[in-house]
């Protein structure tokens, strides 16, 4: 089976899907000739031309708003927001419009559209090129939120997202683009939305994570395994709809739950996971549902000393696991 980097899996899947379904268009800033600032769309413009790969003006609200309209009128847009940090100008279009069109029209109009955006820190991106923005959107009924962590899942989930009949936000951790590599079959497989994966079975502590943190959680599990702590790692993959069954099943088994996320801790997505587990698995808990997350400051600082301090990493996760295991 061929191995691919995370970004190669995304690029290849975009191309495959565009070949399969000519109603798919790609639009965003610099997605054409340049192929995107991370090259996720490299080659698409050459293959599919101006009509299907559109270099838009520097206007995010327009990118999302026009995608909504295009989805209404027979296309299946895959929009790129250059950095997740720059999705905020489109917040109104996403939250007020995309998320509510089906509901407010009583199912008359659905919006098959995908918004891709690179997110995350650890890349010297500072306050505005490092953000995790999933918490804002996971709160909004009507949106589906996907954050894959492996090239295999990236391909299978991107396919599902593009083929889905509702708006999907698909966030890609930019630090993983070239640093993560894995096996990716050339087949037409999909990974269904709404299903978490147990990426490492274990018995004493459940670690729930997604994106880059799903890797770090595995690394942390490795470290503490040597010390005799058995960790089950759940990679959520889809954040909304949340796969409660897998999450609760794991915690009911281990009795301990650590929720890991890179975003600011307060009110982050992990708060919902923790609250759900604390409420619905209460009788099984042998220790507090614990969160390990980014500090509550307004963005990842640029200076490497501060950035290292900010980022949740395997060592920090391992420390939290040890503490919880010893509870």
């Amino acid at each position: 089976m061929p191995t691919r980097t995370f970004i190669e899996a995304i690029r290849a899947t975009l191309a495959d899907e565009m070949r399969r379904d000519e109603s798919i268009i790609v639009l965003g800033e610099d997605v054409g000739k340049k192929g995107g600032v991370f090259l996720a769309t490299d080659g698409l413009w050459a293959e599919f031309g101006d009509d299907r790969v559109i270099d838009t003006p520097l206007t995010e609200s327009m990118i999302v708003g026009a995608s909504i309209g295009a989805a209404v009128n027979g296309l299946r847009p895959v929009a790129e927001i250059q950095f997740a940090d720059f999705i905020h100008p489109a917040f109104n279009q996403i939250v007020s419009e995309a998320a509510r069109m089906r509901y407010r029209s009583n199912n008359a109009v659905g919006l098959p559209m995908t918004i891709r955006a690179p997110y995350g820190g650890g890349v010297h991106g500072a306050l505005y090129h490092s953000q995790s923005v999933e918490a804002f959107f996971c709160h909004v009924p009507g949106l589906k939120i996907v954050i894959p962590s492996t090239p295999y899942d990236a391909r299978g989930l991107l396919r599902s997202s593009i083929r889905d009949d509702d708006p999907v936000l698909f966030f890609e951790h930019k630090k993983m683009y070239r640093s993560v590599r894995g096996e990716v079959p050339d087949t037409d497989y999909v990974v269904p939305l709404g299903r978490a994966a147990i990426t490492r079975p274990g018995s004493q502590v459940t670690a729930i994570a997604y994106g880059l943190m799903a890797h770090y959680a595995l690394e942390a599990a490795d470290r503490v395994a040597e010390e005799g702590i058995s960790v089950e790692v759940v990679d959520l993959r889809t954040l909304r709809p949340l796969d409660k069954e897998t999450v609760l099943g794991s915690v009911r088994k281990t009795g301990k739950c650590l929720v890991v996320y890179e975003d600011n801790r307060f009110g982050g997505y992990g708060a919902e996971v923790a609250a759900t587990v604390a409420e619905e698995a209460f009788d099984y808990l042998d220790g507090p549902v614990t969160r390990i997350a980014g500090p509550d400051i307004p963005g990842v600082p640029y200076n490497h000393v501060l950035e290292d301090w900010f980022m949740v990493d395997p060592a920090k996760i391992a420390a939290a696991i040890r503490k919880l295991a010893a509870y």
């Binding site: 268009i25 009509d51 299907r52 838009t56 003006p57 206007t59 609200s61 327009m62 999302v64 708003g65 026009a66 995608s67 909504i68 309209g69 295009a70 989805a71 209404v72 009128n73 027979g74 296309l75 847009p77 100008p89 109104n92 279009q93 007020s96 419009e97 509510r100 069109m101 089906r102 509901y103 407010r104 029209s105 009583n106 199912n107 008359a108 109009v109 659905g110 009924p141 009507g142 589906k144 889905d164 009949d165 509702d166 709404g194 709809p241 949340l242 796969d243 409660k244 069954e245």
Partner: protein, 363 residues
């Protein structure tokens, strides 16, 4: 109601000048008058406590009917706004559809009773669902136009809004993009001089919204919204341009708001008597009527028949909507997504009697 290419059956000079036969002129008039009659009934129902909220198109109907008449029903697309009653009716919604929205009944085609009145939309007629945050719809219409261009469907998309809303950032982004790609798009601004209480001089820095068109390299035209046929002509030109691949047009119709902003607004607090009186004088309905009378297109007979028909339609729509059932709570969690997700669970109070008190220990 196709705008072009038909032969006039009997045509007054008035109709001939714009390429419409007298039946069409009468149909246009009927639409203006019908929209007005329904609108007036809404206020009556509101004052009678039958419906809690009204937002109105009174004073805008002439421009809406004139402009919409230039589009192809069932083919082109419109992204309307909350004053677009006449526009939505011209494009296919009927009196019952409008009244069902006022009553928010289960069978309301706009939203199944989910949205406030005024938030029309009808997929069957290519009318996009209205939301409340103003100006967002311009980008939807531009996206529809983009798809029309890419898919070679020969469709035109139109978005309508007020002059106050046209200052929103989305409008800038939309016109820029539509102009770059010469999209088949028409932007209608219904300028009634107020954004709720804020007069135009305080909300927009130029006298005519149409002045902004030049900044995007597209035509901008001002049209008298009390002149229905002038609105039709301006729209026809814009629609033909759009369909010919020559890109978008901005049409600004100067209209008047005959009512308060909504049933929650008391406009005498911020508008003078004179201002209100001037507004009345530029109402399209009597203008159009006089014009059609003078041209012999409207006779006393025709008018009487119309009045009867309209009054019957409005009463029928009201009675019908009154009698329709409310949506069931159990429907409320449908259509968040295309499919239901087990993890998106109903609240602990289920779908029973709303506001129930489950009693000690129960849920």
């Amino acid at each position: 109601m196709t705008a072009t290419g038909h032969r006039a059956k009997t045509s007054s000079q008035l109709g001939a000048d714009v390429g419409l036969d007298d039946d069409q002129l009468r149909a246009m008039y009927r639409m203006v008058a019908l929209a007005r009659a329904i609108d007036e009934r809404m206020w009556v129902l509101n004052r009678a406590g039958r419906i809690p909220f009204v937002i109105s198109g009174q004073g805008h109907e002439g421009a809406q009917v004139g402009v919409t008449w230039a589009l192809r029903k069932g083919h082109d697309w419109i992204a309307p706004y909350y004053r677009s009653i006449a526009m939505c009716m011209t494009f296919g919604m009927n009196a019952r559809d409008i009244m069902l929205a006022q009553y928010a009944r289960a069978s309301d085609p706009s939203s199944g009773g989910r949205q406030m009145p005024g938030h029309y939309g009808d997929r069957r007629h290519n009318l996009l669902s209205v939301s409340s945050p103003v100006a967002t719809q311009i980008l939807h219409a531009v996206g529809i136009a983009l798809a029309a261009k890419i898919r070679h469907t020969d469709q035109v998309a139109l978005a309508a809004m007020g002059e106050g809303s046209s200052n929103q950032g989305d409008v800038h982004e939309a016109l820029n993009f539509a102009a770059i790609h010469r999209l088949p798009f028409v932007f209608l601004v219904e300028n009634n001089g107020y954004a709720i209480s804020v007069p135009a001089a305080m909300e927009i820095s130029v006298p005519d919204v149409a002045q902004r068109a030049a900044g995007y390299g597209i035509p901008g035209v001002v049209v008298d919204g009390s002149d229905v046929l002038a609105c039709y002509r301006a729209a026809l030109t814009a629609v033909e341009r759009a369909r010919a691949g020559e890109g978008p047009t901005l049409i600004e119709a100067k209209v008047t708001r005959l009512t308060g902003h909504s049933s929650d607004d008391q406009q005498t607090k911020y508008r003078t008597e004179e201002d209100l009186a001037a507004g009345k004088r530029s109402d399209a309905l009597p203008h159009f009527r006089d014009q059609l009378r003078a041209a012999g297109v409207l006779t006393a007979e025709v008018e009487a028949a119309l009045t009867d028909e309209i009054s019957a339609l409005v009463t029928d729509a009201t009675d019908f909507a009154e009698a329709e059932p409310d949506p069931l709570p159990s429907s409320a969690m449908r259509w968040v997504y295309a499919e239901d997700w087990p993890s998106e669970t109903p609240p602990p109070w289920g779908f029973g009697e709303p506001g129930h008190d489950a009693g000690p220990g129960g849920t």
